[in-house]
């Protein structure tokens, strides 16, 4: 196996044993990037020179015995995280040349843990999308089938891990933007509890829903990255001031005696038969591990999509007001006066989906409509959260498919926003409730497309998610496959 195909924990072992160097790992990753990137387009910006220089430093550190949790490991960052001195586009023309003078907290933390950054990955513009097709920098292709989308919005981060263009990556999840592409690309993806990972330096889409999380090749790597990024940050007011457990310690505990809830509202018409089949197998596997499964109900599930498409665009319409051409980012050269400059800069700088959501959100917050839309949506959101609170009184974990279908074709849904929105139907509720979720590969369709199973847990129960995910991964006996590139 090539070095770039290994996991963090495998590479760490090799590094510690002196069997390889960070330089070799980084070189292997960039060799792969050079080979497949023209077909996949997972990255917006590559950081090869810096990565190689950092690898040399990492090798020095290893020699001195300074080996940290991520020392020497090449990691890709979604281009939504601010990186000091490196352009951060958020997939948008409006930030095409924006270079932040600061690092996101997670970037600092990963650096502290010894990680090396390979580059900034492609994404739907401002994380608005489920296919990476709204990116100003072109669509990312699914490594398992280059005619298909990788999911979104963190499609570049998912594809980069699936195609071994990095060892692991970071993404952000506002309505499924980590879990959905993880499922469609056949990797592990976790959305932690809202407030568990600092949002400072994460370019905001919908502030009350956005959360950062890892994409990895296996569950153990997910725990390792969670150890690296989780924790209280005084720079964020919504950060949770609570100690972080060692997530690796959950991996081998097993789930004997657990109760796993299967929400009936998530096994509905419209779920692809092959997806359904794979998930049913996962349920059987979990039962085989000593867990009891039971049907539960999350009665407000039918409102999730509507609530999400009011709250997220409303917050986005305000969050994106700062891109006005005045201070940084794209400014239209044709503005005749202030208002004209605003209008032209934003019309030319934003893509269609972003504009659609800004308009939706602006409308939902308008005087006279606020009570009927935003306020009502906030109230229903509280009910959705209560559904989960109630459910977790009777079960340890909730199990669902991650997505209704496997990866769809490029261009298949771009003409129908509502169809596109429906691809997040099984992941959105988690963000509305603020609870953690993880998507783990659970098989392939006959056509060779990956399928994911989603586990959900209560507030701050990431450990439990990793516990069941690790147990499942170990016992699912899935066929080891790599995309044929």
């Amino acid at each position: 196996m090539e070095l770039n195909e290994l996991t963090i924990h495998e590479l760490q072992k090799k590094l510690r044993a002196g069997d390889t160097s960070s330089t070799e790992i980084v070189q292997a990753v960039f060799k792969r990037i050079e080979a497949v990137e023209p077909r996949i387009n997972a990255y917006i910006t590559l950081m090869k020179d810096v990565a190689l220089a950092d690898a040399l430093k990492a090798d020095e550190a290893v020699k001195k015995g300074d080996i940290r949790a991520l020392t020497g490991i090449p990691i890709a960052l979604k281009d939504i995280f601010c990186t000091k001195g490196f352009r951060t586009t958020c997939g948008s023309r409006i930030l095409e040349n924006f270079i932040p003078p600061y690092d996101a907290t997670i970037v600092e933390k990963l650096r502290q843990a010894g990680a090396i950054f390979t580059g900034k990955t492609n994404m739907d513009e401002f994380a608005m999308g489920s296919s990476t097709e709204t990116s100003f920098f072109g669509t990312t292709k699914n490594p398992w089938d280059l005619n298909r989308i990788p999911g979104g919005s963190s499609g570049g981060s998912a594809a980069a891990v699936a195609a071994d263009e990095c060892i692991a990556s970071l993404g952000s999840d506002t309505g499924g933007s980590i879990r959905q592409p993880a499922a469609l690309c056949g990797v592990v993806g976790m959305k932690p509890t809202y407030g568990r990972v600092s949002r400072f330096g994460l370019i905001a889409f919908a502030s009350s829903l956005d959360q950062i999380g890892p994409f990895t090749k296996d569950v153990e790597d997910c725990a390792i990255l969670m150890n690296g990024i989780a924790g209280y940050d005084p720079k964020e007011s919504t950060s949770i001031p609570q100690d972080v457990p060692d997530y690796r310690s959950f991996l081998s505990r097993g789930i004997d005696g657990w109760t796993v809830g299967i929400p009936k509202e998530y096994f509905i018409e419209g779920i692809d038969a092959e997806v359904s089949e794979a998930v049913q197998k996962a349920i059987k596997c979990v039962e085989g591990l000593g867990a009891k499964t039971m049907e539960i109900s999350l009665p407000h599930t039918k409102y999730c999509l509507a609530v999400y498409y009011i709250i997220a665009p409303a917050e986005a319409s305000s969050n994106l007001a700062r891109y006005d051409g005045v201070k940084y980012g794209y400014r239209s050269p044709d503005g005749q006066d202030l208002l004209d400059m605003y209008k032209k800069s934003r019309s030319e700088g934003f893509g269609a989906e972003v504009k659609r959501r800004i308009m939706l959100g602006t409308y939902a917050l308008s005087s006279g409509y606020y009570d009927a839309y935003y306020k009502k949506a906030s109230q229903v959101r509280a009910l959705i959260k209560r559904d989960f609170d109630d459910a977790f009184k009777t079960c340890d974990i909730i199990l669902t498919p991650t997505t209704p279908t496997p990866a769809f074709n490029v261009g298949e849904k771009t003409g129908d926003p509502l169809q596109m929105y429906l691809s997040d139907i099984l992941t959105i509720s988690t963000n509305l409730a603020g609870i953690p979720g993880i998507s783990v590969p659970c098989g392939f369709t006959k056509g060779g497309l990956p399928v994911g199973v989603q586990f959900l847990a209560g507030h701050l129960e990431e450990g439990k998610l990793l516990q069941i995910a690790a147990a499942y991964e170990k016992n699912a006996n899935l066929e080891k496959r790599r995309p044929n590139l």
Partner: protein, 477 residues
């Protein structure tokens, strides 16, 4: 028709915290443009606000001082609009759930005392400043002011005249400055006021259409603008016209308010709770703690001065104009043991000196202890009041203690009875005619003798001693 003006004021006060409300940047006025900025107050992508707790403390202080109810939970909201001085495209303010509500303060005008209601006090961030280059058509933006903490104090529409509006504004200003949470500088914009003015037929309960007045940067201008606006609206209504709801700018040069129509579009601010901030929760313990640090407020102080020092209401008003002056007075009064006399010296001489030099009482070269010493020297007869006037002048100019000035000038009052008696004997002998007049009952000539003695002693004799001795010696006893 007879109309009744209805006036409500919205006051914005900069809070004197060292750091801005949501970042650690300095709030100091007058720095080079954009030097007090960081990614947070510049509204860069991905940054987040963290509330400066001192801002809440200061806002609570104002809430308590104006008898507001402090809400145990208040919520920051975003006020969305586009303007180049607003880097995020929204201002973080409070809307549906403000920090404090239902307050009131007492004002006093020529018509007596009156209670003015305070609707609410909320916290928010200030915007930046645009600088326009007149010569070439470009504008610049200075974001030093962006994120400086403000409280907005909204009154009930309880005022009925420009005089009341001015009195209310002065009272608010005085309280803010007393609390040491705002420097009150209107020129630098750290204390700003907008006024809502409408007229209604006298006796009618419903309010008329109001105009919002802006751009008044002094107490005098607020009063003038409100007066002008009342007259303008009266004229419109009397002429059968209708007042339009609009924003009007005070033009100081012309002394008129001018419509901003066409310059400002109707705004829908699309307020909603800021998801980047958590609700502000204020426990009873914290309020109690803050309450303990509240200074005596000007109104209480005035009442206490009148009661405790037996000075007039007017004097109490002058002496409590600032906390520093009131402290100065109290210290001098305590050390001299003569509050009324201390008050007279401060109001008559010291304030005159300070005003001439535009100096604060904190920088007064005469310390309260020095003034007290001077008063005691008059009291024990060492110097005369006339001498004291000369001495205090030197004290102010040089910062010297009264004893030192007296010594330098050889100004010690003659209190030696035998020496003075000798001088008086000489004067009596030299003016037999006047002595005769006095003894025949023309007591008016007594003044002549006092003058003669003062002249002979170059004003250094103790006036009381002169009086006593003269009376005794003239009557021949």
């Amino acid at each position: 028709m007879e109309y009744e003006p209805v006036i409500g004021l919205e006051v914005h006060a900069h809070l004197l915290t060292n750091a801005k409300i949501f970042c650690r940047c300095s709030t100091k006025f007058g720095a080079a443009p954009n030097s007090h900025t960081c990614p947070i107050c510049l509204g860069m992508p991905g940054v987040l606000p963290v509330l400066n707790k001192k801002v809440v403390e200061y806002a609570v202080k104002m809430g308590l001082a104006t008898n507001c109810r402090i809400n145990d939970r208040s919520v920051f909201a975003r006020k969305n609009y586009f303007y180049p001085d607003l880097p995020k495209g929204y201002q973080i303010s409070q809307y549906a759930e403000p920090l404090a509500e239902h307050g009131r303060i007492e004002i006093e005008t020529g018509d007596g005392k009156k209670i003015i209601g305070i609707t609410r006090i909320h916290m928010e961030e200030d915007a930046g400043k645009l600088l326009h280059d007149e010569r070439n058509p470009s504008s610049y933006v200075d974001l030093n002011r962006t994120g400086i903490p403000l409280i907005e104090i909204v009154s009930e529409p309880d005022m009925r005249s420009a005089e009341e509006a001015a009195a209310y504004l002065k009272r608010l200003h005085e309280i803010l400055v007393y609390l040491e949470i705002c420097d009150g500088n209107m020129e630098e914009g750290s204390f700003r006021c907008d006024a809502n003015v409408s007229l209604r037929p006298k006796g009618r309960a419903a309010f008329g259409i109001r105009a919002e007045l802006k751009n008044m940067n002094s107490f005098r201008n607020v009063q003038r603008a409100v007066e002008y606006e009342i007259e303008r609206q009266r004229h419109v209504l009397d002429g059968g016209g209708k007042v339009i709801q609009e924003t009007r700018l005070w033009d100081d040069g012309q002394g008129v308010t001018l419509s901003m129509r066409g310059k400002e579009e109707a705004h829908d601010y699309r307020y909603f709770p800021d998801p980047d901030l958590v609700p502000v929760e204020i426990g009873k313990d914290w309020i109690a703690e803050i309450e303990k640090t509240q200074p005596e407020l000007p109104q209480e102080k005035r009442e206490r001065f009148i009661r405790e020092y037996q000075i007039s209401s007017y004097d109490a008003g002058v002496l409590t104009a600032s906390r520093a002056l009131a402290d100065y007075f109290e210290e001098a009064a305590r050390q001299a043991g003569k509050p009324k006399i201390a008050a007279n010296w401060i109001m008559g001489d010291i304030l005159k000196f300070l005003n001439e030099d535009k100096r604060s009482v904190k920088d007064c070269p005469i310390l309260p202890a020095d003034l007290a010493a001077l008063i005691r020297l008059i009291d024990d007869g060492t110097i005369s009041g006339k001498m004291a006037k000369e001495i205090i002048d030197v004290m102010y100019k040089t910062g010297k203690k009264p004893g030192a000035v007296i010594e330098e000038k050889g100004m010690v009052q003659i209190t030696d009875e035998s020496a003075l008696a000798k001088t008086i004997t000489g004067i009596i002998e030299a003016n037999p005619a006047q002595v005769e007049q006095y003894r025949s009952g023309k007591e008016k000539v007594f003044g002549f003798f006092v003058g003669q003695v003062m002249k002979a002693t170059q004003g250094k004799a103790n006036p009381k001693l002169i009086n006593d001795l003269l009376k005794k010696m003239l009557s021949g006893s």
